[in-house]
Amino acid sequence: MEPAASPALSVRELRKAFTREQPVLQGVDIDVFPGELVAVLGANGSGKSTLLRCAIRLIEPDSGRITLAGRDIASASGSDLRELRRQAAMVFQQIHLVQRRTALENVAYGALGRIGGWRSLSYRAFPPDVIETAWRSLERVGLAHKAWQRADTLSGGQAQRVAVARALCQQAQVILADEPVSSLDPRAAEDVLSLLADIARSDGLAVACVLHQPDLARRYADRIIGIAAGEVVFERTPATIQDSEVAHLYLGELDG
């Protein structure tokens, strides 16, 4: 799928400081279009994860404009904000499945935001269309045969694919993945990243993915954004990126 004309997620001049001396984000601009996977590279503490969390205001940014699914999220509040947040699904490094529940239940939890009232109180009462979406999401990540297995019995790679299925079940337009493969072995990391890339290209979702592995970013991303000290320092396609640029990103860490 060719990238569409308007971005699913657009961030302009995003600023955030936890302490006065050391701002984490100093005016970041990024766009993520439907149908593409954007990799965000950067050293520890460069502001990558804060960027993702600020984008859906899990952390409140100090200033900046954020458009999600064509709507302004920066000024939304209350139920509007919750409604808008549902347009972006998060995938975490530590996976965060509910351990004592089955894979299928965990996937269905992604839809909680759109199930109202008493039907959301128990999995057994979830509407049939939500269960159907959960099954299809689990099939999409190739784990339908693990549906009734408890989350704590899955391998790390399987658990992260279930978490991706949970994000799919949320039916968001954007997936924000925060180091989704950092706790996985290389083989499982490949599986999860190729899955995310395929979801972007085949299903037309906009995927932003914070990574620590430049080689994976080169192979799976459509665009690579480098962040250092809270600023975008480069934005390249995998074909045009230079080794020196990537190496430079991590140099700051040496004296930090």
Binding site: R86, F92, H96, V98, Y109
Partner: protein, 269 residues
């Protein structure tokens, strides 16, 4: 030279030895004074204990053999005691589940709500259940019912505190994941918090039931219910053979409940 080069930079203790000895002496003296006061306050006397050993022997003689004629009555009363603890624990469990989300620092919607929930828990936990039983007798009359209500109130505090602490120690990852997916507070509690803490909650509730069976005996004295009340009456009326039977049944009951509760809890966690 006596001191090695490394010892040069070693600082002396801030207080000299004699001062530290005096402090310890003062602490020991203070403790001794408190114990002396306490022993006198309770009228403690070692000679009394030895001179009244005959009374103890007489008590044992008058208690044997236990009166088997009241065996059935004792068993029935024991079942009432168990029922009281069961209903009391269950009501307490439901109420404490309602208050727990507000009493856990990491889930409570506001600090004032948290403090208010903590006050309720502290109040119900600090006052012993037999005191609540005294008041409940005034409200609903004598019998097992006021005792069950008293146990329920006290359990709100004890279970609520332990539940809240369990939640404060839990992994917040799934909670944050569901919040990010747009789930409401209620949904997060039901689907992310409860599954994580359920085994601990079941274990704590079983333990509370175990404790409540014993509390139900003591509260039975004042509430007029169960095996505790029978025992209390028998002793008051000098029916020591009856009391011995009741005590035996009670002991078997308590040991059985404790054993079963321990076995169940070992299987859960």
């Amino acid at each position: 030279m006596a001191s090695s080069p490394a010892a040069v930079g070693r600082p002396a203790r801030s207080k000299p030895g004699i001062v530290r000895k005096l402090i310890w002496l003062a602490i020991a003296g203070g403790a001794a004074a408190i114990y002396w006061h306490a022993w006198n306050d309770i009228g403690g006397s070692i000679t009394d204990l030895f001179s009244s050993i005959g009374n103890l022997w007489d008590l044992i003689r008058r208690s044997t053999p236990p009166n088997t004629a009241i065996f059935h009555e004792s068993v029935n009363a024991s079942i009432t005691t168990l029922d009281t603890a069961l209903i009391g624990t269950t009501i307490g469990l439901v109420l404490s589940l309602l208050i727990t989300p507000f009493a856990a620092r990491n889930l409570s919607p506001h600090r004032l709500v948290y403090e208010a929930a903590r006050v309720v828990i502290a109040f119900t936990r600090t006052i012993p259940s037999f005191i609540f039983a005294l008041y409940m007798v005034v409200v609903v009359g004598l019998g097992p019912y006021p005792v069950a209500l008293a146990l329920a109130i006290h359990s709100v505090g004890t279970l609520g505190k332990l539940f809240a602490e369990t939640i404060e120690d839990m992994d917040m990852g799934p909670v944050n994941a569901l919040r990010a997916a747009g789930a409401s507070r209620m949904q997060v509690f039901l689907h992310a918090v409860l599954p994580g803490v359920a085994p601990s909650f079941v274990s704590l509730s079983l333990y509370r039931f175990d404790v409540n069976v014993r509390d139900s005996l003591a509260a039975g004295f004042v509430g007029g219910a169960g095996i505790g009340f029978l025992l209390f009456n028998s002793i008051q009326l000098f029916q020591y053979k009856d009391a011995a039977m009741e005590l035996t049944v009670m002991l078997v009951l308590l040991l059985a409940v404790e054993r079963i509760s321990t076995l169940l809890r070992a299987r859960i966690v």
